[in-house]
């Protein structure tokens, strides 16, 4: 853009916005470069070296970090743990939230109250609430085990038995995500035209269950898809509960926790970069469909 062109352009309002637009996006573009684009390139570079933060020299190792990752029992265990965590949190977090949303949607006067009650865990600081859960689930001091023994069962050592660590953290994950998903489902339910239910009733869908299956469930398709995607992404990012409750003891590390240890505690920068790329690939695969949908919405 030459100077004369700028002067000419300033005479006509629509064209004046040509340089203006660039000025307006400049800070965002610079930050996009500094926070996203350059770091991703650097990350990719790290992943093919044996660089350790603070080390004087380093070598290219090609894909060795990646092959090492899939031969690393800790990383494989972290992947398996995260998959187990997701396998509990996704179905429970989605379907229980749908149930709550359907119940809350039918309430008229008390709807705000239920919304508030179920949404509260979403806003609470998870680090603090995980500490509370630790106490609630305490084998002898916690009310949960008191209820279990009162019902005639043996107390459960939720955070003592290694096999129960991941399921216990998944339970807390479900507790945190329910309100979020409920709100998304409520928005989806509000978008379904009332007439459709009427039409289904006239067409013979007598019971509420029939009407749910013929109208509500199909109409909620896009919402459900979105909820599944966001829930699975947040499940693969589980970190706080591990950091507070187990710190990865008894083989309970998750993907992000293993990555955190390698990259920031042990300073294995190159290896951690490879793990980060694997993590990023998982998140991108999970979000690709959603992104294409968003992209369509932008260009239509």
């Amino acid at each position: 853009m030459t100077l004369t062109a700028t002067f000419e352009a300033s005479a006509r309002p629509p064209a004046r916005s040509v340089p203006r637009g660039l000025v307006f996006v400049l800070p965002a573009v610079l930050l996009l470069l500094a926070i996203y684009i350059v770091p991703i390139i650097v990350l990719a570079g790290f992943s093919i070296t044996d660089y350790r933060l603070g080390a004087m020299n380093w070598d290219f190792v090609g894909a060795r970090n990646f092959t090492a990752a899939f031969a690393d029992p800790v990383f494989i265990r972290a992947l398996a743990n995260t998959a187990l965590y997701a396998a509990i949190v996704i179905p429970a977090g989605v379907f229980i939230a749908l149930g709550i949303a359907l119940l809350v949607y039918g309430r008229k006067s008390s709807r705000a109250f239920w919304e508030t009650a179920y949404f509260l865990p979403v806003t609470a600081t998870l680090v603090a609430m995980a500490t509370v859960w630790q106490f609630l689930l305490h084998p002898s001091l916690g009310p949960v085990n008191t209820a279990i023994t009162w019902a005639g069962f043996d107390p459960v050592s939720f955070l003592g038995n290694p096999a129960l660590l991941i399921p216990t953290m998944a339970l807390i994950g479900v507790w945190q995500v329910l309100g979020f998903n409920m709100v998304l489902f409520l928005a989806g339910l509000t978008a379904i035209p009332r007439d459709l239910h009427e039409a289904a009733r006239i067409d013979g869908a007598k019971s509420p269950i029939d009407r749910f299956l013929t109208v509500t469930w199909p109409m909620l398709g896009p919402t459900t898809m979105f909820v599944v995607v966001t829930t699975s992404i947040s499940a693969f990012k589980v970190f706080e509960t591990v950091a507070v409750l187990t710190k990865g003891r008894s083989g309970s590390e998750t993907l992000l926790y293993a990555l955190y240890l390698e990259g920031f505690e042990y300073s294995n920068t190159g290896y951690a970069a490879a793990l980060t790329l694997i993590f990023l690939a998982i998140v991108l695969i999970l979000s690709i469909g959603q992104t294409l949908r968003m992209d369509r919405k932008v260009h239509y």
Binding site: A28, L53, T125, V127, A128, A273
Partner: protein, 270 residues
């Protein structure tokens, strides 16, 4: 009878959802001697709230953590709004070369979680000797691609005729952006502010990486530190600390419930 069934089911569910909050509040005012008391009765035999909260505030600099949280969250939010609003306005209403490319980059960046960028950003900040600063805690979040996307969608519906008329009246493009178009999207701004503050008040991952100096630690990192120090020793004080850290967000949520829920909903369904 069947009419009340939804209420009963919802009430049982809500009781489970709220149990941790109730237990936290209750334990925070109980004396250490009552810790073995598993009853849910709300009135403790001896009220030890003052003692527990004082101990939480004195063992670790709890007030300092809260202040740090306020500094970091407001710093992040201010820069996010200052950079995202003009960019969103340009993407929604102005023509410039590279507009489509920028929009595509914004959408691509929406998929990249912060945790994937943490390693190179950490190395960069370490090389620049900026670890353990407020700047390090805030810098990765100065650009919110979510804010750009959200504001752009919202600004698009602002009538072009008003923008044209304002230009005729001699408004600068900056004035149009901040004083007219943004004013038409205040609900989006409120929802985004809530979303941003909640996310950063509650974030542990990044502070854990760049902060080791307790004097500038935000609340979650302070809480983690406190619970590591206090393990099993004094649950009353521990719960008092947890209550202090969660209270600001819970109070904000109860006051601005609509903006909160709008902020969450806007992340996708719209």
């Amino acid at each position: 009878m069947l009419r009340f069934l939804p209420h009963v089911v919802l009430a049982i569910g809500a009781a489970i959802m709220l149990l941790p909050f109730y237990w936290m509040a209750l334990t925070s005012i109980r004396s250490p001697a009552e810790i073995f008391d598993i009853s849910l009765w709300p009135i403790p035999e001896t009220f030890s709230g003052g003692q527990n909260y004082a101990q939480a505030a004195n063992t670790v600099p709890m007030a300092r953590f809260m202040l740090n949280g306020v500094i970091v969250c407001s710093g992040i939010l201010i820069v996010q709004v200052l950079t995202a609003v003009p960019a969103a306005y340009a993407l929604a209403k102005l023509q410039f070369p590279g507009r489509r490319l920028l929009m595509a980059l914004v959408i691509a960046a929406l998929c990249v979680p912060m945790q994937a960028l943490a390693l190179p950003l950490f190395v960069g900040l370490a090389k620049a000797n900026l670890l353990n600063t407020y700047f390090a805690q805030m810098a990765p979040f100065f650009l919110s691609v979510f804010a750009i996307f959200l504001f752009r969608q919202s600004f698009r519906s602002y009538p072009d005729e008003i923008i044209e008329a304002a230009r005729m009246d001699g408004f600068t493009e900056m004035e149009i952006c901040w004083r007219l178009v943004l004013r038409g999207s205040l609900p989006s701004l409120a929802a985004f502010s809530v979303f941003s503050v909640v996310a950063h008040w509650n974030d542990l991952y990044w502070p854990l990486i760049v902060v080791s100096d307790m004097a500038i630690a935000p609340p979650p990192l302070g809480m983690l530190f406190f619970s590591d120090v206090e393990t099993g020793a004094n649950y009353g004080a521990l719960m008092a600390g947890a209550a202090m850290i969660t209270a600001p967000m819970i109070v904000c949520f109860l006051l601005a419930r609509r903006s909160f829920i709008a902020g969450i909903t806007m992340t996708g369904v719209k």
